[in-house]
């Protein structure tokens, strides 16, 4: 125990407020940090996700209140906000899904190179944002 208790060196060379906003990440870095952000977002919104599952499958009456949440709102929350939160969830799921498949692909095929890391990251970002735009337009009734 005594040898473990020895102080390990701590490096504090990054100031969260000063350095992070100016830190320029490569595409793979964006995919990585957004994988975490989208995961945390879905973790925190999990009760809302299960509420949607609950109301949408339980009965026709609950299904009606599920649909109504997106139009007239949910309690004191207006319908537009419900749609925006849903849009955030759609993005989070798509990003997490595609970035996760990218991880699995890299693990299975040992596709770990600088070039593949970059190109697959760009594809991940383009696909997730593009699909979010398409589904978001549907959610907000643009088509």
């Amino acid at each position: 125990m005594t040898e473990i208790a020895r102080k390990r060196p701590v490096f504090r060379n990054i100031n969260a407020l000063k350095d992070l906003p100016t830190y320029r990440l490569p595409a793979a870095g964006w995919v990585s940090i957004l994988h975490r952000v989208s995961g945390v977002l879905m973790f925190l919104l999990m009760p809302f996700i299960i509420w949607m599952f609950d109301t949408s499958v339980s009965s026709e009456i609950s299904f009606a209140s599920f649909s109504a949440a997106f139009n007239v709102g949910l309690g004191f929350v207006p319908g537009v906000l419900v749609k925006l939160v849903t849009l955030a969830l759609i993005w989070a799921y798509l990003h997490h899904f595609i970035a996760g498949v990218r991880h699995l692909y890299m693990d299975v095929f040992h596709a770990v190179s600088k070039e593949f890391g970059k190109s697959s990251a760009v594809v991940t970002l383009a696909l997730s944002l593009g699909l979010t735009a398409v589904l978001g337009a549907k959610l907000f009734g643009l088509y």
Partner: protein
């Protein structure tokens, strides 16, 4: 290099990671497949999807079987993920432990709710 075998190994941290790393990938793959199964049923349903069609997707016993497995996989997957994040960003042991307890309560509660919905159906 710290000793990571034998009687003097350091028994803190992420259990050397391999088991959780593998669990996260297996559960992730399962959830991805489940997504495709649900998506396929939504896409191949003819006509607009109302309550009957949507609830009908989760009605067969094999789908409940699969959905239950996915709920457990989700629980496990998220636990590994949020714990990774806590270990990376939350250094004070007290706050980290509190957050880990919160995550467990949050996840077990959510999973219980989801299971209740599934078998009430």
């Amino acid at each position: 290099m710290s000793v990571n075998y034998g009687s003097k190994r350091i028994v803190v941290g992420a259990h050397y990671g391999l088991r959780d790393w593998l669990a996260q990938r297996v559960t992730g793959a399962l959830m991805a497949l489940f997504t495709l199964v649900v998506l396929a049923q939504v896409i191949f349903t003819s006509g607009p999807i109302g309550y009957e069609q949507w609830a009908g997707i989760f009605a067969p016993q094999w789908m409940k079987f699969l959905t239950f497995a996915v709920i457990v996989a989700l629980l496990w997957h998220v636990w590994v993920g949020v714990r990774d994040i806590f270990m990376d960003y939350i250094q004070p042991v007290g706050i980290r432990l509190s957050l880990q307890v919160f995550a467990i309560v949050w996840l077990v509660g959510c999973a219980g709710w989801a299971v209740q919905v599934l078998w009430r159906l």
